[in-house]
């Protein structure tokens, strides 16, 4: 629903339009019959509608536009009149008789434009006359519209370079003078408006003033369009005069808007060449003016200009734009003591963007801006204002985006100092941004020094800042963060093994400060990074590495041992066990038997002392068996000790089926295909038999508890092991044993107490099919299988 005020306004506008149309109708009739006297009379009455004070600027503009359109017709009529011989001077005199001043001035402006066009008098005289006479209207809204009418009709008649109105008597100076004067008067009307009317309507008035702003700003646009306004004239006359007006009016709205206009309306080259004057105005503005926004807009424009053409760059250098802007910002911040930190940071952020655009090679400038920012922030502790924080993030992200290279940011001494002012949460956000930048650009961080600097920068993720752990943190977020650190660790790389080892040591130093929550994320990538280095060294000749080399496999393994040991503080024995086994395997490949043995010992200790969950034990034992099977570095004695223990663990698992499976897996520890020294058929058979006994026991247990026999799956699995070793030529595994096992399974399956297990049936069937298949193969294999009856 429309408010009452708005309804009233509609009504008044309607009445105004009706009055205007009625008079226009008579005016048209007069025009059609060439009746000048009536034409003037009705047009004056028509224009009287513009005397209303009841309309808001928007509505008034509607009425004005209608009058404006009608006046174009009158203007054409005046032109025809002069062509018919009527003296324009007489016409100019004649319209002055209109009774009311407002209609009279509109008519004067209209005739005046024809007057100028006729060139019977110098344009400057007519213009001067008109702009003076408009003083007669002191009502702000009416005055502003009248003057904008004057500006509009004179727009194409200003004596400009190359215009038909340029002559001995008329120069660009006159045109500029005219527009400046009109601008000054309009600004005064506009500023004065706020003091008129009751105080309670202040808000409404401010809104109306804001609507009217373009009428004032338009003059600046006109000035910018005058071709004769070259740099010289802009510098000497236009800018100082406009700024004088802006500063002296002491009005917040006007100052903010007009500064914006100046920046947008005049060309970039002019701004560059007059930076000092322009910037000099900022500290003189009212403290309430949002200087940072306007100043930011200026820098944004200049940045775009620099980006748009390479030819512009020398100009920037020549006028020392950076120094001037930097200086001006300092002054503004100094002058506006109450400026919130966010405002100051916004300014620095804009200046930084400018610098990155205009002087990408000047890292010292970038650092200077950051340094100035640090100065502003210092002594205030961590930032709490969220807007300021956001601005800082923008400020710190800008160099990363520009250079696409964290290395550059690492060279900025003030970069980490700015980060200090971020609260812990934001500090982490920034650290993630840094890591993402590295990922995205595949940045190679290749020296220990750089890594040191980098970890200093992202320490928010690496350890608990202020020694407190943030309980508030979401588990998911934490994982996300730590995973990104893990990825980062994988990215650190140097071609030089020595340097790479230094990098690894640096990372270790930092991640060890991360505490038990972080280590499970950060230790594994570091372990693998070190293992990769070991692999690289394996390819190298020992002699080349030299005596004093730090990065020898032995040293790295020592180091690895320490890292994994640190995980015991977490504790996370399952992870540590896996890592020990990985290391053991790497030591195996490096031919370091004692080292490999040591890692196994560590893994066994963990298994015995720390891993108590039965499921975890099963997983661990299979890992142990698998790794041990692949080891070839061990001599008989070491190997025996380790396999002995592994079989021992297997037999002691909690559940019978787990025991059974682990034990038959152990059979592989005694028979390794590609190692001639490890082919102990007897012990293989011992394992298998033991597995069978356990399977039997398991079967009986289920019989006892459920009153039926359990699944035969375990037997079929063992049968498959038999077949494997049979095929591999283990002499202990013979036809009779296999045959016996097949029969056992068949009987078990046929007994009516046995539980139905389709999976086991299928497994058995396919095992038999395999035997059948091998038999039919013929040749050596076929012969071997031949005696087995299925």
């Amino acid at each position: 629903m429309m408010s009452e005020v708005a309804q009233d306004e509609e009504k008044w506008l309607g009445a105004g339009i009706a009055g205007l149309q009625q008079n226009a109708f008579y005016m048209h009739r007069a025009l059609d019959s060439n009746n000048l006297r009536d034409a003037l009379k009705y047009s004056a009455q028509m224009l009287s509608e513009l005397r209303t004070s009841r309309l808001s600027p928007h509505k008034y503009y509607e009425l004005y536009m209608r009058a404006f359109d009608e006046l174009r017709k009158l203007e054409m009529f005046f032109k025809e009149e002069t062509r018919r011989g009527c003296s324009i001077v007489d016409l100019y005199e004649l319209v002055q008789h209109a009774g009311n001043i407002l209609p009279r001035l509109y008519l004067l402006c209209t005739v005046g434009s024809v007057y100028i066009k006729s060139k019977e008098a110098p344009a400057k005289d007519v213009l001067k006359d008109l702009v003076e006479m408009c003083r007669g209207i002191q009502h702000p809204v009416r005055g502003l519209f009248l003057r904008s009418y004057l500006s509009q009709v004179s727009r194409d008649k200003l004596p400009d370079i190359g215009s038909e109105y340029e002559g001995d008597a008329d120069t660009v100076v006159d045109a500029v003078e005219f527009v400046l004067q009109n601008f000054t008067e309009m600004n005064k009307l506009w500023v004065r408006m706020q003091h008129q009317g009751p105080a309670r309507e202040k808000e409404k008035r401010e809104k109306e003033r804001s609507e009217l702003r373009d009428l004032v700003g338009k003059n600046l646009h006109v000035l910018s369009q005058i071709e004769g306004v070259d740099l010289e004239m802009y510098k000497e006359t236009v800018l100082p005069r406009v700024l004088e007006q802006v500063v002296n009016c002491k009005d917040e709205l006007a100052q903010y808007y007009l500064m914006d206009c100046i920046i947008q309306v005049f060309p970039d080259e002019y701004h560059l060449q007059t930076l000092e004057t322009l910037l000099g105005a900022y500290p003189q503005l009212q403290p309430s003016v949002d200087v940072k926004t306007v100043l930011s807009q200026l820098m944004e424009r200049l940045s775009n200009y620099a980006a748009s053409s390479a030819e512009a760059l020398p100009e920037f250098l020549q006028v020392e734009a950076f120094a001037k802007l930097n200086n001006a910002i300092g002054k503004v911040i100094e002058a506006q003591v109450d400026m919130p930190v966010a405002g100051a940071v916004t300014l620095y952020s804009s200046l930084l963007t400018f610098t990155l655009h205009v002087h990408p090679d000047r890292l010292d400038y970038v650092d200077q801006v950051l340094g100035a920012c640090v100065k502003k922030l210092s002594g205030k502790g961590k930032l709490e204002d969220s807007r300021a924080t956001k601005q800082i993030v923008a400020l710190l992200s800008a160099p990363l985006e520009k250079y696409n290279d964290i290395m550059t940011a690492l060279k900025l001494s003030n970069y980490p100092r700015v980060m200090e002012y971020l609260d812990n949460g934001t500090n982490k956000v920034m650290a993630v941004v840094i890591i993402q930048s590295i990922m995205k650009n595949n940045t190679c961080v290749s020296t220990a020094d750089k890594v040191e600097a980098l970890f200093e920068l992202i320490k928010g993720l690496i350890k608990d800042l202020d020694g407190t752990f943030d309980d508030e943190l979401d588990e998911e977020d934490f994982k996300e963060e730590q995973n990104s650190v893990a990825r980062l660790i994988q990215m650190l790389y140097s071609d030089d093994p020595e340097e790479m080892f230094k990098i690894i040591c640096t990372v270790r130093k930092h991640i060890l400060t991360g505490g038990p929550k972080r280590l499970p994320f950060t230790a594994p990538p570091l372990v693998f990074s070190a293992l990769k280095l070991v692999r690289r060294l394996q390819g190298q000749d020992e002699n080349v590495v030299g005596e004093e080399a730090l990065a020898t496999p032995k040293k790295i393994f020592q180091f690895l041992n320490q890292i994994i040991e640190a995980l015991s503080t977490v504790p996370t024995p399952e992870l540590a066990l896996r890592l020990y086994l990985q290391c053991a395997e790497a030591a195996n490949d490096s031919d370091l038997e004692p080292v490999a043995y040591e890692f196994f010992t560590q893994a066994y200790i963990l298994y015995e002392e720390e891993i108590s969950d039965s499921k975890a034990q099963v997983t661990a034992i299979h890992l142990i068996i698998g790794t041990l099977q692949r080891m070839h570095v061990f001599g008989v004695e070491n190997r025996d000790t380790l396999t002995h223990k592994a079989t021992g663990y297997s037999a002691k698992l909690l559940k019978k089926p787990d025991q059974c499976r682990a034990v038959y897996a152990c059979s592989h520890l005694f028979w390794v295909d590609d190692q001639d020294s490890v082919k102990d058929g007897e012990r293989v058979l011992l394992c298998l038999k033991r597995a069978l006994r356990i399977a039997n026991a398991a079967q009986q247990m289920t019989n006892a508890t459920r009153g039926g026999s359990g699944s035969v799956t375990l037997f079929v699995e063992i049968l498959n092991k038999y077949l494997y070793f049979f095929e591999k030529g283990n002499p202990q595994v013979n036809i009779a044993a296999i045959q016996g096992l097949i029969e056992l399974i068949t009987t078990e399956m046929q007994s009516d107490t046995s539980t139905q297990d389709p999976a086991a049936d299928a497994f058995f069937a396919s095992t038999l099919r395999y035997i059948q298949f091998q038999k039919q193969k013929g040749g050596v294999i076929g012969e071997k299988y031949e005696p087995i009856k299925v």
Binding site: F25, Y42, S53, R72, K73, G136, D156, L212, R213, Q264
Partner: protein, 207 residues
């Protein structure tokens, strides 16, 4: 009266900031071009006399601010337009995407009686930039859009090089002329032959 009215053709140029509205108008009216960007504030017109089928017309070309914050007074000047020019920069996708908004906004605000047939002309400007290598809106795409909006005439222009500007405005003038003027036929309740009009209302002060 209608004859007088018909001598004046009102044209409005709309489009995003920086597409070259002011440049196009200056090129057409003054045959001048500047590389400098000077934002337009509010609305502003230039006039140009054009001859057409032996008759002389005044083209009143309204250039507007593409930046919203420089259009504080609203768009009352749309009223009575005979043709609306929609300009975009062939090198900036967003400026093309926005044509639809400009067109709709114009139709809502100017409220012509026959919106379906109101004459528009679309100009794809700055085709000179980078020898055409940086353009992102193809002629085909632009023409397809124009076709979908009731066969709007389409021109590719360069205000900088004056390319096609004259031809475009000729078409604009022609279409403006074709547009049936929307004269609000006004008939006073009683035709007062003596021409008294109404009493001056007493609102407003004495100025």
């Amino acid at each position: 009266m209608s004859s007088r009215r018909r001598m004046l053709l009102k044209v409005i140029i709309l489009g995003d900031s920086g597409v070259g509205k002011t440049s196009l108008m200056n090129q057409y009216v003054n045959r001048k071009f500047s590389n400098q960007y000077k934002a337009t504030i509010g609305a502003d017109f230039l006039t140009k006399e054009v001859q057409f089928e032996d008759r002389l017309f005044t083209l009143q070309i309204w250039d507007t601010a593409g930046q919203e914050r420089f259009q504080s007074l609203g768009v009352a000047f749309y009223r009575g337009a005979d043709c609306c020019v929609l300009a975009y920069d062939v090198n900036v996708m967003k400026s093309f995407d926005n044509l639809n908004n400009w067109r709709e906004e114009f139709l809502i605000q100017a409220a012509p009686s026959d919106p379906e047939n109101f004459p528009f002309v679309v100009l794809g400007n700055k085709i000179d930039v980078d020898g055409g290598n940086s353009r992102v809106v193809s002629e085909k795409k632009a023409k397809a859009w124009c076709a979908s909006k009731g066969n709007i005439p389409y021109f590719e222009t360069s205000a900088k090089e004056g390319f096609n500007v004259e031809a475009a405005f000729e078409c604009i003038a022609k279409n403006a002329l074709k547009n049936e003027p929307e004269e609000e036929i006004y008939l006073p309740d009683t035709i007062d032959v003596a021409g008294g009009g109404r009493q001056q209302r007493s609102s407003g002060c004495e100025c």
